[in-house]
């Protein structure tokens, strides 16, 4: 039980005053040390940050590895943060604030919510930090100093064109396995890119599902994972067992879709295309599960980001976007062992050398 008699109050006040003195003394001591501590010549080691959407997705795990490796090579310090799950904006905002107060020179971020993160990014840029978006643009794109990303539309287009070549002269019945109902840019861009590349009139290319082409059997969502891929494929297959071409948002969804096709005995009759270029996915291209995949380069994004921030710390120079785009395109490569005329691609050997995850 708390005793609130006079003795107690006096004692606690003394403790409070004492601790303030201790803190002040501590600060004074720190201040005195400043000149001596740290690297030579008054500028501390460069510190920069990496904020990913989650810690669990192999895409971000590889990004972090790449960033760490580059940071070690350049002799700069990297602090990493992540949200708890896709869409967790609050954790990312908190991470930005920590980096500002820790004196980072800049940071890379894969925004979970492209719009909601902007105020935090503005604060960072006002404090003089270089802000680089990775993999996903901010909304508006110029809220970041630069964006290093895959052109997801181009990624979709590549597999769309490949599929068009494969299905030349044949009737295509297309199933679309998307991410989820949220309509995030990566989902929309890959979906619409694929359809455009294939030759379907997409109507509004910022919306999924508004197409009227009768070749499309239907859309379903997968959450970008095997289970969802399997269930979605099963349901669409049930709707139209004659489907023969499947677009998938990423390779885990493709793997799940393949299982559904195998269970129905249709794995030989249906072609699956995907995006990502992760190592398990490329192995699946090699083994024939996936027909073709667009490989993207998360490590490259992270490495370029680290380089850019180090350069900025040294010379205040900011990175320039790729010509004709408002971001730096880190490139996609179509990986397939069945090349199609007129569509550039590399084989799975190349894919395995450059894969991630």
């Amino acid at each position: 039980m708390m005793r609130t008699d006079g003795l107690g109050r006096r004692a606690s006040r003394m403790v409070a005053i004492g601790s303030v003195y201790a803190l002040a003394a501590g600060f004074a001591a720190c201040g005195g040390d400043d000149a001596g501590a740290g690297g030579g010549g008054g500028d501390d080691a460069v510190m920069l940050g990496l904020i990913t959407k989650t810690e669990t997705n192999p895409f971000f795990v590889k990004m972090k590895e790449g960033a760490n490796a580059k940071a070690d090579a350049l002799g700069v310090e990297l602090q990493s943060f992540a949200g708890k799950k896709d869409g967790d904006n609050e954790s990312q905002v908190a991470a930005v604030e920590s980096l500002i107060s820790a004196g980072a020179k800049g940071f890379m971020i894969t925004p979970s919510d492209s719009e909601a993160i902007v105020p935090a990014l503005d604060k960072a840029r006002q404090a003089g930090l270089l802000v680089i978006a990775l993999d996903t643009q901010t909304e508006p794109p110029d809220a970041a100093d630069a964006t290093f990303a895959t052109d997801n539309f181009a990624a979709g287009e590549a597999i769309g064109k490949w599929a068009a070549g494969k299905f030349e002269g044949k009737d295509a019945r297309i199933a679309m396995l998307d991410l989820n109902a949220d309509g995030v840019s990566v989902d929309v861009q890959r979906d619409q890119g694929f359809l455009t590349g294939f030759g379907v009139d997409v109507g509004d290319d910022t919306k999924i599902g508004d197409e009227e082409d009768p070749r499309i059997v239907g859309h379903d969502v997968t959450d970008g994972a095997e289970e969802g891929g399997r269930t979605a494929m099963e349901n669409l297959l049930q709707r139209d067992p004659s489907l023969n071409l499947v677009y998938t948002i990423n390779e885990p969804a493709a793997a799940g879709a393949y299982e559904a096709l195998k269970a129905a005995g249709k794995e030989k009759d249906v072609t699956i295309v995907s995006v990502d270029g992760g190592c398990p996915g490329v192995k699946n291209v090699k083994s024939g599960v996936i027909g073709a995949t667009s490989q993207q380069y998360p490590l490259k994004m992270a490495e370029m980001g680290v380089e850019a921030i180090s350069e900025f710390a040294r010379s205040d120079a900011k990175p320039e976007p790729t010509a004709g785009k408002d971001f730096v395109d880190t490139g996609v490569t179509l990986i397939t062992d069945e090349p199609v005329d007129g569509v550039e691609s590399e084989d799975t050997a190349f894919g395995l050398e450059n894969c991630w995850g």
Partner: protein
């Protein structure tokens, strides 16, 4: 039931322990008759909803009623259904387990990696995976019974711990089916039934339902589970070793989660550390829609099977009917609220 939960969902009116409502005799109206019928057997409600859903979708969606599609639905709910069995046991004791999904994924990663990376023989890897699930259940049970912490809080904590262990051990990497022993993938293999196919995993799930239903109805342990959930103090005073019963429930649930892990591997032909993200909530959904009361002591495990099937039918039927994905979530949400509301209504006892 944890005090936290009680504050969120107030106990039903008039169903205080021992209270009797003596009123003038009312002629048995339709609503009263339905009430009494449902009170006697809470699973009739979900069964009715299931049948209704099947009927509706057979009209609105072509190819819904094909045997191939119906067996497909059973396969689609096989993992959640199994997790639902574990969750039912725990909810019957007036507890709740938020970590079932995490236990499942951890077990799946362990058995898969042992087989794929270390070449451990399939059966041994499977057994070790089961052991991991059981151990996780034991941890939950000990925290609940020895430290007397509310199950909601305990499993909220262990959920994060098991998930972290999963990520650490797997390094976020998926283990491919091609690299593991055939035995681990057995649950995904199909067997012909009539002119359609069904997976061994679905049959295993149905068998598990039968076993657990039998145990709950026909053994002393089952009676004690109900007693411990309905009124733990009363059961203890009556001589039931409630702590032992509770502990056993968590341990058995952990084992069942590991069996669900085996089914998950069969279904997606791989072991993914990111899998089962919504499994926790899906299992609770199946239990609640199936008529088991969150306050403990009431409900049948077969109700959970109906609950899982209802969700499966809904998702499959709506997709086949071309309805937007948004509405699937909406429909499930409405079902949950309706199920809990009906449960509240049923629990009101009229003497």
């Amino acid at each position: 039931m944890s005090r936290l939960f009680r504050r969120l969902v107030p106990a039903p009116q008039g169903a205080e322990r021992g209270a009797t409502v003596v009123g003038p005799e009312r002629p048995a109206g339709v609503s009263t008759r339905i009430h009494d019928l449902l009170h006697a057997n809470a699973t009739l409600g979900p069964l009715f909803v299931l049948v209704l859903a099947v009927v509706i979708f057979s009209v609105t969606a072509d190819r819904f009623l094909e045997p191939g599609n119906l067996s497909l639905i059973v396969q689609q709910v096989m993992v959640v259904g199994t997790l639902g069995i574990a969750q039912t046991l725990i909810i019957l004791t007036a507890g709740i387990d938020l970590s079932v999904g995490a236990i499942m994924v951890l077990s799946s990663i362990v058995m898969a990696k042992l087989s794929a990376d270390q070449g451990v023989p399939g059966l041994l890897a499977l057994m070790i995976g089961f052991g991991v699930g059981t151990a996780c259940g034991l941890v939950n049970g000990l925290l609940v019974t020895r430290l007397r912490l509310p199950p909601f809080i305990v499993t909220l904590g262990t959920l994060n711990v098991f998930f972290a262990l999963n990520l650490y051990y797997s390094k976020s990497e998926t283990v491919r089916g091609a690299d593991m022993s055939e035995l681990l993938l057995w649950t995904g293999n199909t067997v012909d039934v009539g002119d359609t196919r069904i997976t061994y995993g679905s049959l295993l799930m149905l068998a598990l339902f039968l076993v657990v239903a039998y145990a709950l109805k026909q053994t002393a342990w089952g009676r004690h589970v109900y007693a411990s959930g309905d009124d733990q103090e009363a059961a203890r005073l009556a001589g039931v070793r409630t702590d032992r019963v509770l502990l056993s429930v968590y341990v058995v649930a952990g084992l069942i989660c590991a069996v669900a892990a085996w089914m998950l591997i069969g279904r997606i032909a791989s072991a993914s550390p990111q899998a089962g993200g919504t499994a926790n909530l899906d299992s609770i959904t199946a239990v609640v829609i199936g008529g088991t009361s969150l306050f403990g002591g009431r409900g049948l495990v077969v109700g959970t099977l109906f609950g899982a099937l209802i969700v499966g039918v809904l998702r499959n039927g709506l997709t086949l009917s071309g309805v937007d994905v948004l509405w699937q979530d909406f429909a499930v949400g409405v079902l949950i609220v309706a199920a809990v509301a009906i449960d509240q209504w049923i629990r009101r006892v009229k003497a």
